[in-house]
């Protein structure tokens, strides 16, 4: 329908400032939606890594402590007990070499501290996956006072604290996104209203000579759709950019827990698709609403 497209283009151009504002607001709000989605995916991916299913860590006493280091026999005792415990789904032992490797990675940003650490100073540990996560405290208590056990760490606590923080961030971002989506909707609605007003004479004549309702409506609806879609495309670009920004930030912050919060290309693509669909929905919704409210039949 070339008439509709022509009309739409001319409507958009007449109100270019408003069109620009609507497109930008759609872009910003959808970018925020995309950011919230990415953060959500990144965090849930990182949570998997952080936990790796591990809910409990039993550290054995390292050398260089005021009390004696764990003996091989004590370590074997813990291992045996874990093998027999029905609550333990699986576990692995992290020896001195791997502990040191982990620490090196962990403190890669603090080389002076690294030089202080020696492999033997670091505690070896058992990383334990439970059958029922809520049994962590009960199991932990059993090992806490066993000879050679240095400390029991509940991984869940640290991760949960982190999750609370990222939850707050997601809520803030999502709230901003919702507010801005409302603004975007009103801006598109308005662009349509102004376009309808600018074309009121044409519309009156069209009704008079018997143009069908859809013939009259379609150019205005297309206008809203295009604004929503163009905004969504810009936001899609921003989502791609955010992927890079996040890696950059992670690389520079070297934020320990967050280093796993990278999202896969697949997840970014899904987010981009969601953003574009949302843009189309907003554009169409605003159009339908605008045409309904401001165009009599």
């Amino acid at each position: 329908m070339p008439y509709a497209v022509k009309e739409m283009a001319s409507n958009l151009w007449r109100n270019r400032l408003m069109t620009l504002a609507a497109v930008l607001t759609v872009a910003v709000s959808l970018s925020l939606v995309g950011a919230a989605l990415l953060l959500n995916q990144g965090v849930s991916r990182a949570v998997g890594k952080w936990r790796g299913g591990v809910e409990l860590i039993v550290y054995m006493t390292p050398a260089g402590q005021p009390y004696p280091a764990a003996t091989p026999a004590q370590i074997r005792a813990v291992r045996d007990q874990l093998s027999r415990d029905p609550e333990v789904k699986s576990f692995r032992y992290v020896g001195p070499a791997q502990s040191y490797r982990e620490a090196k990675q962990y403190f890669s940003s603090q080389p002076d501290l690294l030089k202080v650490l020696k492999p033997d100073d670091l505690p070896t540990s058992f990383r334990i996956v439970l059958r029922h996560a809520d049994q962590a405290a009960a199991l932990g208590r059993r090992f806490e006072h066993q000879p050679g056990v240095y400390r029991v760490l509940y991984n869940r606590q640290a991760v949960d604290a982190m999750l609370r923080v990222t939850d707050v961030m997601q809520i803030v971002i999502a709230a901003l996104a919702v507010v801005l989506l409302l603004s975007a909707l009103v801006l598109i609605l308005n662009a349509i209203r102004v376009a309808i007003f600018a074309r009121r004479r044409e519309v009156a004549v069209m009704k008079l000579v018997g143009a069908t309702n859809w013939f009259i409506r379609v150019p205005f609806m297309l206008e809203g759709l295009v604004q929503g879609l163009v905004g969504a495309l810009v936001a899609a670009g921003a989502v791609f950019g955010m992927g890079h920004l996040v890696s950059y930030l992670i690389a520079h912050f070297q934020a320990n827990l967050f280093r796993y919060a990278l999202v896969t290309g697949h997840q970014v693509a899904l987010t981009v698709a969601a953003v574009i669909v949302l843009g189309a929905v907003i554009g169409t919704g605003a159009s339908a609403l605008g045409v309904r409210r401001f165009l009599e039949v």
Binding site: Y3, R201, V205, V209, A211, T212, N213, I216, V297
Partner: protein
């Protein structure tokens, strides 16, 4: 062609009664003057025929259809049978004479070659063939009204409604416009013209339907304006 049966129309939830129990029947090919003092309901009657409004009571038949029971999406097709002209011309100021007339065909989906054939023909009929590229503001009021009539008539409707088409025009120009409507009526089109112009009504001696306060007071075959 047009038949109103006991039509009552109110506005503002019954606060204003625009038409009271009106019945009138207009046959194909008639030329009818609708007269009456201001607020007597002339425009309301025309709007009902166009189905811009629905009556409170009564039935209205236009071109063989009961417009009160016409579903919404069919209204545009009804309107393609009715041409309309108003006091204020309602031309599109940014379009030329040709484009204004062509617009009426474009928006009902007529193909290009039909437009290219019919528009010059109708401009010839209204005597504006030589001004086809002028913009409305470059025309006199009488010429603008001719364009409006061309637009209303280009799709060869069965009915032409004119609501005070000479209200903005001087007596000479008004005379011209009425003569043009008369010429269109002679092609078989039913013409209904609401007017305050007593001298035109008196000179033409056509059917006159006189309204007052929403009631049909007179319906004479070869009537005059009269002072109600």
């Amino acid at each position: 062609m047009i038949e109103l049966q006991n039509v009552t129309k109110t506005y503002n939830h019954g606060a204003v009664i625009a038409l009271r129990n009106c019945s009138v029947s207009i046959a194909k090919g008639e030329f009818v003057f609708l007269v009456g003092p201001t607020g007597s309901g002339k425009s309301t009657l025309l709007r009902l025929v166009l189905r811009e409004e629905l009556p409170d009571q009564g039935t209205i038949w236009v071109a063989g259809k009961n417009v009160c029971q016409l579903s919404r999406w069919k209204v545009p097709y009804l309107r393609r049978n009715i041409g309309c002209v108003f006091q204020d011309f309602r031309l599109l100021p940014t379009k030329t004479v040709f484009e204004n007339v062509a617009f009426a065909l474009e928006v009902i989906g007529r193909p290009r070659h039909v437009i290219a054939a019919q528009v010059p023909q109708i401009l010839d009929l209204v005597g504006l063939a030589r001004r086809r590229d002028a913009l409305p503001h470059q025309l006199s009021g009488g010429e603008q009204q001719r364009v409006a009539i061309a637009r209303a008539f280009v799709n060869r409707p069965l009915i032409l409604l004119a609501d005070e088409p000479t209200g903005n025009l001087d007596p000479d120009t008004s005379e011209d416009i009425t003569r043009l409507l008369d010429r269109i009526n002679r092609t078989g089109t039913t013409v209904v013209m609401a007017t305050h112009n007593a001298s035109i009504v008196d000179r033409m001696r056509r059917r006159v339907v006189a309204l007052d306060q929403g009631r049909i007071m007179r319906d004479e075959a070869r009537g005059v304006y009269g002072h109600v």
